[in-house]
């Protein structure tokens, strides 16, 4: 009883500190809680596995700064998986800050021995959201006459024969808001029948499940960082997301505990109020 009251009166800053410690501890000392690969993640992996070496995949960085950390690990592992299978990757962004991530990713893989313009390329960022996506899908070189490094895209081997969205074997898009799966389905999937796989922040996951059910998406990474962790485990490339999962588990437990304790406290207080009322009538 008293412990509950103590919890109820506890300065909220102690809750903050507790949550912070619970998150930091497993990052320093991993616990190794097993991670299950869900069906929608496996579906996404299967779509990438279907690609043959030399096929071209489009990777779209539609994410903002704030939500980026939740989806960036997804994009990184999908890219690593695709490149490891010899797939060639074209990167674009339709959110301005997404370009930052795209450019850094290209530099990372260049340092790992991939050849810019042959294995991987970054075209740049186009403004205009849905109208830009639509224009891009119909005629790539009209929206991006040059790549992010300022050279005509026709001068790169990877771009040979790429005219419309239909020339990609798979499109993967990672989003934190608008544009997201809905815009890509409307503008690209319905018209060009290209398989589309999407990765989104956890908040957007549920609202996009219907697209997976209706077959408009071939894969959905709908759980933010957790989906990235599942992907990393399934393709045996454990990275930042896998390392984060223990912290995720403990953090969830902590918040659930706060809710339960808050409710127990509420019940106790209500009981006491009722008791006090009854006492008052008798007196």
């Amino acid at each position: 009883m008293n412990a509950l009251k103590w919890f109820g009166d506890l300065d909220k800053r102690w809750l903050y500190l507790l949550l912070l410690l619970v998150v930091v501890f497993p990052l320093l000392r991993p616990l190794g809680i097993p991670i299950d690969v869900t069906a929608s993640t496996s579906q996404f992996i299967a779509a990438v596995d279907k690609l043959a070496p030399g096929d071209r995949m489009l990777l779209v960085f539609d994410y903002s700064i704030g939500g980026g950390p939740d989806v960036d690990p997804q994009a990184q592992v999908v890219l690593a998986h695709a490149l490891s299978r010899g797939v060639r990757v074209v990167e674009v962004a339709f959110v301005d800050t997404g370009l930052n991530y795209a450019v850094k990713t290209v530099e990372l893989w260049e340092s790992k021995g991939k050849v810019y313009g042959t294995d991987i390329i970054c075209l740049g960022y186009a403004t205009g959201v849905e109208t830009a996506i639509s224009a891009f899908a119909q005629n790539i070189s009209a929206v991006f006459p040059t790549d992010v490094r300022g050279k005509p895209i026709g001068s790169y081997p990877i771009m040979q024969g790429l005219k419309t969205a239909a020339d990609f074997k798979l499109i993967t898009e990672f989003a934190t808001g608008i544009p997201g799966p809905a815009e890509w389905i409307r503008q690209v999937v319905t018209r060009f029948k290209v398989p589309l796989g999407c990765g989104v922040v956890a908040v957007m996951g549920p609202q996009n499940v219907p697209y997976l059910q209706s077959g408009q998406l071939v894969g959905l990474l709908g759980g933010g960082l957790k989906s990235a962790a599942e992907y990393e485990i399934a393709v045996k490339m454990p990275g930042a997301a896998t390392a984060a999962m223990d912290a995720q588990s403990l953090g969830h437990l902590m918040i659930v505990l706060f809710v339960i304790l808050g409710n127990l406290l509420f019940l106790v207080e209500r009981q006491e109020r009722r008791a006090a009322k009854v006492g008052g009538v008798r007196a």
């Binding site: 903002s64 704030g66 908040v203 609202q207």
Partner: protein
């Protein structure tokens, strides 16, 4: 007609026609009774509280630009703002309107000016009343938190389209002990509002705000048209599902036309 939009167009026209019908009825005084919406009733109370405490009312009419698909929600927020600004003018209460979209700024500023003019307090309008904080999501949220804390805001009202910053602002308001009234039609944000604010307008309720508060007959007529729209959609869902259950897909095909 664009393929796949015929039924949509039919609904669109029918719906506008219903609205016009109720608007003309409303003009001759045949007004439907509107059910109570506690979140909107609480607005007067929230401003009264700010007046008593001598502290400002903090208002946010959504965060998206006026030339995007989120516009209607922001316009709903701006309609409520015009009511709020009239009250703060009447009671000489401080008002802080925080703006996150450049194109909303001139509109909000005009609305506040108009409201003060109507209350005969045009000379009381100050630049601080409508402030553009930032169009960067979390710079806006941080600046909002700073204003709430330094000016000890008594009441916080947020109606319009919001994204992730919503939780930060309502919880920040709770921390300075402000009464919070919030509302949005953006489904991903409603749960945060419900959990952390004192009153929440859910989805369509924000569009009723202007009518409810101004008691303007034309807008109240609009509410009746909205109700018919919902009744029709319910009927289609129930009848259509029954038809599908017995293997008849003609309703679905008709909607797809």
């Amino acid at each position: 007609m664009v393929a796949g939009k015929q039924t949509t167009f039919l609904f669109f026209v029918l719906f506008l026609a219903t609205a016009v019908y109720y608007m003309t009825r409303a003009k001759v005084g045949k007004l439907p009774a509107v059910r109570r919406i506690p979140g909107l009733d609480a607005i007067d109370e929230a401003i009264g509280r700010a007046t008593e405490l001598g502290r400002p009312v903090f208002y946010v009419p959504g965060r998206t630009e006026i030339n995007t698909a989120g516009a209607a929600q922001n316009i709903a927020g701006l309609e409520v703002l015009s009511h709020v600004a009239k009250l703060t003018a009447r009671y000489d209460t401080e008002l802080r309107v925080a703006i996150a979209a450049a194109s909303v700024y001139p509109v909000a500023e005009a609305i506040v000016q108009q409201s003060y003019l109507e209350e005969g307090k045009a000379d009381k309008v100050k630049p601080e009343m409508v402030q553009f904080l930032s169009n960067e999501q979390f710079a806006f949220a941080a600046a909002g938190l700073s204003i709430m804390n330094t000016e000890r805001t008594a009441s916080v009202i947020m109606i319009g389209e919001f994204q992730a910053e919503s939780m930060m602002l309502v919880e920040g308001a709770a921390q300075v002990g402000a009464v919070t009234i919030s509302g949005t039609a953006r489904t991903a944000q409603i749960p945060f509002f419900v959990a952390a604010s004192d009153y929440t307008l859910i989805g369509e309720e924000i569009f009723a705000g202007g009518a409810y508060l101004s008691k303007d007959p034309i807008r109240i007529g609009n509410l009746a048209a909205q109700d018919w729209g919902k009744l029709v959609s319910m009927a289609i869902i129930i009848i259509g599902s029954l038809m599908v259950t017995f293997g008849n897909k003609s309703m679905i095909n008709w909607l797809k036309k």
